[in-house]
Amino acid sequence: MIEKTEKLTFKDITSPFTNGIINNNATFRLVLGTCPTLAITTSASNGIGMGLSVLFVLVCANAIVSILRNIIPRKVRIPAYILIIATFSTIVEMVVRAFLPDLYDKLGLFLPLIVVNCILLARVESFASLNRVIPSIMDGIGIGLGFTFSITLIGIVREFLGAGSFFGIPINSIISAELPMTFFILPAGGFMVYGFLMVIFNSVVDKIQKSLENRNRVNLGSRSVNAHISTPEIDTQGGK
């Protein structure tokens, strides 16, 4: 008897993607991959470069692990995952070194260190080894994009406050030349910007989610069909 494989729903495909960017944001929510977050973000263009590298490695590793998820024996899954992730990480390092030597100089030690980036092992183990190929790929893209977005944001803030430039373009003409504070380029500034941005990000996201929930509640209340939400007006007005 052959089992019929379930069809992938639209939600299966898009929900890992949207979750990866906001709800499961690797930097501000899951707090994974903090080593490159603090070291690379001295300039915004570094952030984009690193983020896209991690995205590539994550998508490839997720895809391969998802394909092989029934074949890899459970006892050696961690070494197998590390082997797969290390392969793609080395490929990215070699490609960046050959075609983008400036980025390679700036990222330095952290390109080969993508293999021990907590994000990769965590997502591969918790998502890709249990789900099918296409949701895993979407999860990889989502988390990768979320990571890129967050480290670019930290990079923009640090670069603006610390060196007075935006993606390498100095904007001393708009603001006064007194602004660049070297503190933000130093490691101490990195920690501080990360901490404060985490607070800001979480507050903003919580507020938006709450207001969306409230709006949904109000909408459902006004329709008052099969409303299970307990607002007194509905109970007295509507039917059951």
Partner: protein, 225 residues
């Protein structure tokens, strides 16, 4: 469908009825050992296959993305300097001055000496880093240009010592004015020598640049110039 299920149930019942506790301990051990060997074999095969595929993929990518540092240096020099390169000096004969390294030494058609020197931050071992590589062009005893080739300094901090505005100060300096200490690195030389300015906050990176220039000039002098 129901028949199929019933058949399966019958098979299971049959199997469980046939199951007898193994009286012979030897065969039990052998049974489990066989299972264990099977498992270990599977583990080894799967890991081995993954490793092999990984190595093949990496070898292929490596073949296509291999970089030749000499070629990169030549390309950079080509974009900087118009004259063609006529001779290549053997750098292995040049001794490493205070931990620096001369990566390449070319002489162009119009007599300019193009030296690629790599140095750490002054001589400060505490500041373990991957080094600064600069290209120094010396012509007829004068330093014509100093350009940064590769570095991994933090932008905004150490990188300020490798910007064009800072490296400009070496242009036109006579190589006789570059003080080359015999022993340890000295940042402020004796009187009458060229005293390079140092960027506040990037002291050791500036000292690294200074050391690399000294190494280049030393190599230049060692050729009898």
């Amino acid at each position: 469908m129901v028949d199929l299920l019933n058949e399966k149930k019958e098979n299971l019942v049959e199997e469980t009825n046939n199951f007898e506790p193994m009286k012979d301990n030897g065969s039990l051990k052998r049974h489990f050992k066989g299972k264990k060997i099977n498992e270990s074999l599977k583990i080894i095969i799967v890991l081995g296959l993954i490793a092999m595929v990984a190595s093949i993929m990496l070898a292929v990518v490596n073949f296509y993305t291999k970089i030749d540092e000499n070629q990169q240096i030549l390309d950079e020099i080509g974009s900087l300097y118009s004259s063609e390169i006529s001779t290549t000096v053997d750098v292995s004969s040049i001794s490493n001055y205070l931990g620096t390294e001369i990566k390449a030494y070319y002489i162009a058609d119009d007599g300019a000496n193009i030296i690629v020197a790599k140095a750490n931050k002054g001589d400060k071992v505490c500041y373990n880093a991957t080094g600064i590589t600069i290209i120094v062009i010396i012509k007829e005893g004068l330093i014509e240009k100093v350009v940064s080739f590769s570095h991994s300094e933090t932008p905004g901090l150490g990188e300020r010592a490798l910007r064009e505005e800072y490296l400009n100060q070496y242009e036109g300096i006579n190589t006789d004015l570059i003080f080359i200490p015999e022993g340890d690195f000295i940042s402020t030389p004796e009187f009458n020598y060229f005293n390079p300015s140092v960027i506040t906050g990037a002291t050791y990176s500036s000292n690294g640049v200074s050391l690399a220039v000294k190494a280049a000039v030393k190599a230049y002098r060692s050729r009898g110039n």
